[in-house]
Symmetry: C2
Subunit: 288 residues, 2 copies
């Protein structure tokens, strides 16, 4: 459960820790980055935490290098956790055959179909094992103040984990999320592989289905999508389906979907708006 | 001379253009990035320009992705030029044999030794051909307001090109510059290869020598060095020699060298302080 710190890197006045640990849920070593803002450990006040879930093919490194969350999080006094996007090196047949399935493409769910069900338990890892391990090892972090965000597949992860676990996260936001995976090529491939052919079972992992059942107060979320995002144009993201489902279920009041003119799917997009998402999380993490 | 735009990417309200052009000085196609802030072309006021010279092994892409300059430059209304670090693909014998010489390692000088003297003319490229081409193709840029900065080998480039060309740049700053290349392994290898064995000839390309001859008013510069920078510890940077030379020649009054506690040589270091360097440049670029 305990972490090995492979590097400590100064960043925006705080420290980025490169961590690894042996995870039981995934049955392999997992790497992640943890950003501790300058204020961490300086007083008896514990630091709130923002989980950032990355997109397809990424590790926890990409956004730590290119997303500039550390800028805003350092100023606000928020720790940022950048987990990996899947288990790795398990030698499951087919895990490295494509960039949008298997390694780097867990979709942050607990797989039920063989051979993935044994180790592809990223939902349990992200919502239970990882936070427990972090709060045990880093007492300066506040386990009662946690928010979640993410990009693309990680935006799907952020929205679904928030919707599945009312009360677990103080806030949610997403960049270009795969918002209706049951109806896009990426999601259909992943859900078929991890969950099997029964589309009814997919609904438990689809933000546009989950939002229909949201009854835990006003659903508040910030979603940014770039109008020049080719994956958006190709129908992989479908934020409009999420908005429609939110409206139809009366959950649209606190939902803010911004269409950012000319922005693509890259870290140039994320870095431009990451401070807005830190500020969104801060509003809830520091609510009186 | 004219540029081909291979991509236009929205970033911090402005646009990052990925450009290529056939350069005469280097005899090959050169790639670069040009960041135009949101204000570019919006009014009749031309936009000042900051050149950022990258370090060994980099291209113009690394800092555009990881350096966070677009954040500050976008706010201040400054264009940023990220040139490449050398000619490429010339098939000169030995150009790809090591990471600290040849491709990606021009040291921003005009080579005089064979076989490098024909194409390794990065000093002419950066100070003459590239700006001329840019100002011809982008009339929204202000050729009379140009500053320069850089990292490591690019910090050496920024300091030496500023010192060699009084009046060409409104300001200079550097991150972890190779400040006395004649006396460090990287510089000795490069200068021997590009300039030959005569150490006297090296002095014209060494900031710690050039500063001694500075007589064009107060020498003002901002230099940041991380105390956990392994290349600093190994004596590749030697900012202390530059400070000493500045003092001995009476040029220390406007020189600010900051030792940033715990920072390394990476883009985590650059991104943390890039806004300070944009603000430093802005002070001169927008001086009344």
């Amino acid at each position: 459960m305990s972490f090995k710190t492979t590097a400590t890197i100064a960043s925006f006045g705080g420290k980025l820790l490169k961590l690894t640990h042996e995870a039981q849920t995934t049955g392999c070593e997992m790497a992640l980055n943890l950003y501790l803002p300058p204020s961490a450990g300086k007083t008896s006040t514990k630091i709130p935490v923002l989980f950032y879930l990355s997109g397809l093919t990424c590790t926890g490194d990409n956004c730590a290098e290119k997303g500039f969350f550390q800028y805003g999080a350092g100023q606000k006094g928020i720790a940022v956790v950048y987990p990996d996007t899947s288990p790795r090196g398990l030698k499951i047949q087919g895990e490295d055959d494509s960039w949008d399935f298997g390694t780097g493409a867990s979709f942050y769910l607990d797989a039920t179909a063989s051979p993935w069900s044994k180790n592809y338990k990223m939902e349990s890892y992200i919502t239970s094992e990882l936070p427990k391990a972090l709060f045990a090892s880093f007492p300066e972090l506040d386990s009662s103040r946690v928010s979640i965000t993410g990009h693309s597949m990680g935006g799907h992860g952020a929205l679904t984990l928030f919707l599945k676990n009312p009360g677990m996260y103080k806030s949610v936001s997403a960049f270009a999320p795969i918002a209706n995976p049951s109806n896009c090529p990426w999601g259909e491939k992943a859900f078929k592989g991890y969950l099997g052919e029964d589309r009814e079972a997919w609904k438990k992992h689809d933000a546009s289905e989950l939002i229909k059942g949201w009854k835990a107060g006003t659903f508040e979320a910030l979603i940014d999508v770039g109008t020049a995002d080719n994956f958006y144009k190709q129908g992989q993201l479908l934020p409009e389906n999420f908005e429609k489902a939110a409206k139809e279920s009366g959950n649209e009041k606190g939902l803010v979907v911004r269409h950012q003119d000319g922005y693509d799917h890259s870290y140039y997009f994320i870095s431009t708006f990451s401070t807005d998402h830190v500020n969104h999380a801060a509003k809830y993490l520091f609510a009186a």
